[in-house]
């Protein structure tokens, strides 16, 4: 079978095991839903937020951030933990002894991230619209922005996740290594805390990492005009989003390529 056919077979297999794993389902798939529900409930007493003339509900403010968090979790957290586990529990060693190409293996992983990430984002948007009554953008160009930020963000996060999976020394330590990084990024990148309330120096640090740019791209889609004034330099800076994510994509790709082994290299 060709690498691509096998890759497709791997996507089916990976997606099946994803949905059969309760830990992954909660901490990766449903986590943004839980956080959206908590933040909406916790801050609902504040009423509407935002610049004059562009006020929105707190749920509407958090929706783009949670979509961005979902992309980060589905890519980075999911793959970094998953592959580190597979390395330590012998899954990769077994696959390495079969004629499965590493390319098919990664097509399977990235495909799984896509299937689950798309489903997650769709459900988040649907829940925001139906349950929280959030108004969705109607302009086609906004949905075009959504599409490219989503795809670029997801591929970048998947590659960064694959690269990060080389760091944990064992499967058991994988969550301990990965989750703090991912959590920290969510706090400083405008996902949990309102972006414009963060001090400039923290915003600058967050700008070094991809999540800030994904969240910014998503805010440009879902927040009404007028909100761009609260961004750095008062602009959505979509060019910056594309450049930052493009750089991280290349970094992730190179690191994945260099660090991946079916088994830990021996001395």
């Amino acid at each position: 079978m060709s690498m691509v056919t096998l890759g497709a077979s791997r996507i089916g297999y990976e997606t099946k095991t994803y949905f059969r794993s309760p830990d992954t389902l909660f901490f990766t798939f449903f986590f943004p839903f839980v956080m959206l529900a908590i933040f909406t409930a916790a801050f609902s007493a504040q009423g509407e937020v935002g610049p004059p003339g562009a006020e929105i509900s707190i749920g509407a403010y958090y929706l783009p951030g949670m979509i961005a968090a979902g992309i980060l979790l589905s890519g980075v957290q999911n793959l970094a933990v998953d592959i580190a586990m597979e390395k330590s529990n012998g899954t990769l060693k077994r696959l390495g002894g079969t004629p499965l190409s590493p390319i098919s293996y990664f097509l399977g992983k990235i495909g799984q991230v896509f299937v689950t990430g798309v489903l997650q984002a769709a459900l988040l948007i649907l829940a925001g619209w139906l349950v929280l009554g959030i108004e969705l953008p109607t302009e086609p160009e906004k949905w075009f922005t959504f599409a490219w930020v989503f795809v670029l963000g997801l591929v970048t996060c998947a590659l960064v996740g694959i690269a990060l999976s080389a760091v944990p020394r064992s499967g058991k330590s994988a969550t301990a290594v990965v989750i703090p990084i991912v959590l920290l990024l969510q706090f400083i990148s405008g996902v949990y805390l309102q972006w414009n309330m963060l001090p400039a120096w923290l915003q600058d640090i967050a700008s070094l990492f991809p999540l800030k740019w994904i969240a910014q791209g998503m805010r440009s889609v879902f927040l009404p005009d007028g909100w761009e004034a609260l961004e750095q330099n008062g602009s959505w800076n979509l060019t910056g989003v594309a450049i930052a994510l493009g750089i991280w994509l290349v970094v992730g790709l190179v690191l994945s390529r260099v660090t991946f082994r079916w088994i830990r290299r021996d001395a």
Binding site: M1, L6, S9, Y13, K16, T17, R20, S21, M85, E86, N89, G90, T91, K93, R94, G96, G97, T98, P99, L100, S101, W262, I263, D266, A267
Partner: protein
């Protein structure tokens, strides 16, 4: 590959970890269609050797050919001709036995029938059960099934029956005999010497990274190691033993001299296990001074 070629050729294989020689000049051949057992205590270099042949580990020195290819350069086509049953696995097992085998069958150009393989390893009742829910012995049978699903020319079995009950072990031996009958070349490591005696045509004994003996399963250890032992109690109740090629004659003379049935009479033909233990012991005692220096 022509059938008269060796399936596996190993010449002066060496593997060094830092200062330690894990494998230190091992040479052997395995002919196509042969079952070869690699025996030795834990840490002797068995697994390192087998993992070099499987392509998992690099070697420090020596020449290796597996199905005519250097394992360090083996591509996907080469891997499709191998079946590998690793020593231990701890996968999450979120898929069923049938799902796992069907998925793996897709990796190979000419796989065996999934249902036939499930039947061969005796997991028909568990075909729709998730692997995580199976017992340890049943999970091991899944490992074996995954090793043979691709219809391998050469099958590596690294301690395949650890955790099997005696019945499952005998069932497994039947499966392996079936594969042998189809012409599969097999490299087996095991701690069960009766298993090696049952399945292997030839065996190599490895200790301290060196091959201390190699030969037919009926020849290993040399003829002297196979001399039967007669054991009995004399009139005072003391245990007596005699190594002899004529145990019948010895028994007859003991009966004659005692004037009756000797107590605790035994005629023991050394099993492969006895021979193996003696081999390993002699290597250990020879290696002692060296280890003191190290």
């Amino acid at each position: 590959m022509k059938t008269n070629d060796a399936a596996v050729q190993v010449r002066e294989l060496r593997k060094t970890y830092g200062q330690k020689n894990a494998v230190d000049g091992v040479s052997f051949d395995i002919s196509a269609g042969e079952t070869f057992a690699l025996l030795g205590p834990n840490g002797a270099g068995k697994s390192t050797t087998i993992e070099i042949l499987e392509g998992y580990r690099s070697r420090t020195g020596g020449e290796v050919r597996v199905l005519g290819t250097d394992p360090a350069k083996g591509g996907l086509d080469w891997k499709s001709r191998l079946g590998i049953v690793l020593q231990s696995t701890g996968e999450t097992g979120l898929v069923t036995v049938a799902e796992q085998l069907k998925h793996f069958a897709g990796f190979y150009p000419n796989p065996r029938d999934v249902d036939e393989v499930i039947a061969a390893v005796g997991l028909e009742p568990q075909a729709k059960t998730r692997i995580a829910k199976l017992s340890g012995g049943q999970q091991r049978r899944v490992d074996v099934a995954l090793g043979i699903i691709g219809r391998p020319e050469l099958l590596f079995l690294d301690e395949p029956t650890t955790g099997f009950d005696p019945e499952a072990r005998r069932h497994f031996w039947q499966v392996i005999r079936g594969l042998k009958a189809e012409g599969t070349t097999i490299l087996l490591t095991t701690h069960y010497l009766d298993e090696a005696a049952q399945l292997a045509d030839r065996a190599g004994v490895i200790a301290g990274g060196r091959l201390v003996d190699i030969g037919g399963i009926d020849e290993i250890g040399g003829a002297d190691a196979r001399v039967p032992l007669v054991r009995w109690r004399d009139r005072d109740g003391a245990l007596r033993e005699e190594h002899t090629d004529e145990p019948g004659r010895v028994v007859a003379s003991v009966v004659a001299s005692l004037g009756g049935e000797p107590a605790d009479l035994e005629v023991i033909r050394p099993s492969l296990e006895d021979i193996y233990l003696q081999l390993i012991r002699s290597v250990d005692s020879a290696a002692q001074p060296e280890e003191v220096l190290a």
